[in-house]
């Protein structure tokens, strides 16, 4: 393994972060009474550490798989560490544990916060907070690959490392084209939502920040009470639409735009994803209405927003779900674990794997009845290899195991079961809010520092889809 190659690519990652730090600082200069020098200083650190390897190292056209793994995992770790510097230097509610948690939550697009007074932050820092979502949404490595002028082979290796097998399905293009499609769809959605929210009455600053958080399926709001602050069905509808779209495979979205056969109207997977989501909304609304929480219209309004929000791993809120009936919480817990589609910006287990799981289950049942028959698995007319099927089943087991271990560790700190389990599921799935002490209108600030650290690791594991981290520890020099 060539350390200088890894360091050089990490330099690119730092330089990319510096761009957004500088934008945040410029905003701070114009919008805040006292500009946030913490942003400028962190940007300069990124520039200095990012430029240094470029001065010393030669260009490398190819990188090995172990190098790719290390670049991706270390890239995320360095980004999260650098991302916490503006928070730490700002102070206030940001202790070391809080700053790291907020940074990891931002970059992994989890959207869990430790802050009680979000509106007390300066504009520059609020923008940086939302930017961490946007950078992390499609993956910082993807952005870096887009701007790299050389290294065709390195691009393929890094893309294979950053994206899971499932995410790569529906992308039948070369690495560079796939990256371009991802970024174009990402930019297009962000722009469309920003303009829509502005028309709906948000100011430009809030519109941009909420778009960043929606398209990245993050969930950081600029308001203490999240989207509930606006109390606007129009704004909620726009955000819901874009949350749903951001939870769909970007390759399928791109296919819809260019009029390809593989589009959101023909994909069985998308249809199933939407049906399951609507079923969840209906069940939650029915229970809320039945238990006299709201009238039918309000029950539908709040359940739609909350189910789509957790089901796409965004995490915005329009109601305090901690007070909702246990049945609705259980339905939403299912969505917190299931999450949205592979190839989107959402995290977690992914709907595709759950869908594949039930298909594989069906195949096994058929196999019991006809032991000598040969069955194949297909999703959207695409044959699923035995290898991918096995990998998916193993991933589900590994995911549940990680979830249980995290819950147990939190429970060991005398945190109640609902808080422990929902916090573990919400962070591993990069969803954001859980229930009880970490519900949609509460925050993670009240948890012990060690719990925040464990949950930060959980968020990173969820974003890196566990396998990459395991692969990292199995690399030999």
């Amino acid at each position: 393994m060539r350390a200088e190659v890894v360091i050089k690519y990490l330099g690119y990652v730092l330089l990319f972060n510096a761009v957004f730090l500088l934008i945040s600082w410029i905003l701070s200069v114009f919008m805040d009474p006292a500009p946030t020098t913490a942003l400028l200083f962190t940007a300069l650190i990124c520039i200095i550490f990012g430029l240094f390897p470029l001065v010393f190292s030669a260009n490398y056209d190819s990188i090995s798989f172990p190098e790719g793994i290390i670049i991706v995992v270390a890239g995320w770790l360095i980004t999260c560490t650098i991302g916490m510097l503006p928070y730490i230097m700002w102070g206030g509610e940001f202790t070391l544990a809080n700053a790291f948690f907020e940074s990891v939550s931002g970059f992994t697009t989890t959207g869990s916060t430790v802050l009680n007074n979000i509106e007390g932050l300066p504009y520059g820092l609020l923008f940086w907070r939302s930017s961490t979502h946007w950078i992390g949404g499609v993956g910082i490595i993807i952005f870096v690959l887009l701007i790299l002028p050389h290294a065709k082979n390195a691009r393929i290796t890094l893309l294979n490392t950053e994206m899971s097998e499932l995410s790569k399905s529906n992308f039948h293009y070369k690495a560079r084209t796939t990256i371009r499609i991802l970024v174009v769809v990402y930019l297009g959605l962000t722009l469309a939502e920003t303009i829509s929210l502005r028309i709906a009455g948000m100011n430009w600053f809030d519109a941009v920040n909420h778009s960043f958080a929606t398209i990245a399926t993050g969930g950081f709001s600029t308001k203490n009470t999240s989207v509930a602050y606006y109390n606007s069905p129009v704004i909620e509808s726009i955000i819901m639409l874009f949350m749903l779209l951001s939870g769909i495979h970007f390759g399928i979205l791109f296919g819809t735009i260019i009029g390809s056969k593989e589009n959101i109207f023909t994909s069985k997977l998308v249809r199933s994803y939407v049906i399951v989501m609507f079923l969840g909304i209906f069940l939650v609304a029915l229970k809320l209405y039945h238990d006299h929480f709201y009238d039918w219209w309000s029950a539908l309004r709040y359940s739609s927003f909350q189910v789509i929000s957790v089901g796409t791993t965004t995490g915005f809120a329009t109601a305090d779900t901690a007070n909702w009936p246990v049945f609705t919480q259980i339905v939403m817990l299912y969505f917190i674990i299931q999450c949205a589609m592979a190839g989107s910006t959402s995290g977690g287990l992914k709907f595709d794997r759950v869908y594949l799981f039930f298909k594989a289950l069906n195949k096994q049942v058929k196999f019991i009845r006809h032991p000598n028959a040969v069955f194949s698995l297909k999703i959207d007319n695409k044959l699923i290899s035995e290898q991918l099927e096995r990998q998916t089943m193993l991933f589900i087991v590994l995911y549940v195991f990680t979830l249980l271990v995290t819950t147990t560790l939190l429970a060991a700190m005398d945190i109640d079961l609902m808080t422990s389990f929902s916090a573990a599921a919400a962070t591993l799935g990069n969803v954001g809010p859980g229930f009880s002490r970490v519900s949609s209108m509460a925050n993670f600030g009240n948890l012990p520092d060690l719990a925040k650290l464990i949950l930060s690791v959980s968020m990173l594991l969820g974003r890196l889809e566990i396998y990459s981290v395991i692969a990292l520890f199995t690399i030999r020099r």
Binding site: E4, A34, T37, F41, L44, I45, F52, V55, F56
Partner: protein
Amino acid sequence: MKRKLKSKLLAGFMLLVSLLIVAGSISIFEFLNLGKTVSSLIDNNYKTIVASRSMLEALEREDSGILLLMLGQWERGRGILEEADSLFLDALELAKKNVTEKNEQAVVDSISDAYHFYRSKWQMPIVDTQKEGNITWYEHNIHQDFLETKGFVDDLMTLNQNNLYEEASTLKDKAHRAIMPGIVAIIGALLFSVLLNFYINVQFVNPLKRLIKAIKTHHPDDRLLETNIRSEDEIKELEREVNKMIIRYSRKD
């Protein structure tokens, strides 16, 4: 691109120096901000709080002076009243010049109006009039105005005390912001030193070692040195020159 060893090393050190300069500049800027906050605390709030205390003290003394006049002690009573009046007006003038908070102007104006009304009451003769020893007159005409003026002064003091507390509570954060760039720069410089050391090894020491080893193990039958040096600097140039030298000598032989 061809980069010389000297420029590479210089670039490395320049980046390190720039990190420290920026950290130092930001710390200085934040400390200056901190200093400004402290001085604005003194200017904006503390001076007015002191003036308010003086006004309260003056009002208490004036109240004593009035009581002395009512007891027929004209000379002592007038002396105290004039001294307290001068103290009050000086303090009020200071408060007028130091209006910095929202709603403070309105409170200062209320003090001024209330005091001048109160003052007009005790400036009239008291000794050898019906007012002397008349406690009912004192209670209805003097004491009510005294309490009202005192109430406005209290409001001014509370307003400034609250602002002083709020500003002082931000001082902790400002001090934190002044110190943090320094701490981050120290950690950054340490990491940078490790990185610089790594690159010196990778870019200079290891290629030189490889070159030395290749020269030492070079066999007359071998045509060229194989060092696998990728950089385009003086070390690569040295390798090329050694190879040219080998070719020249092999032709001579």
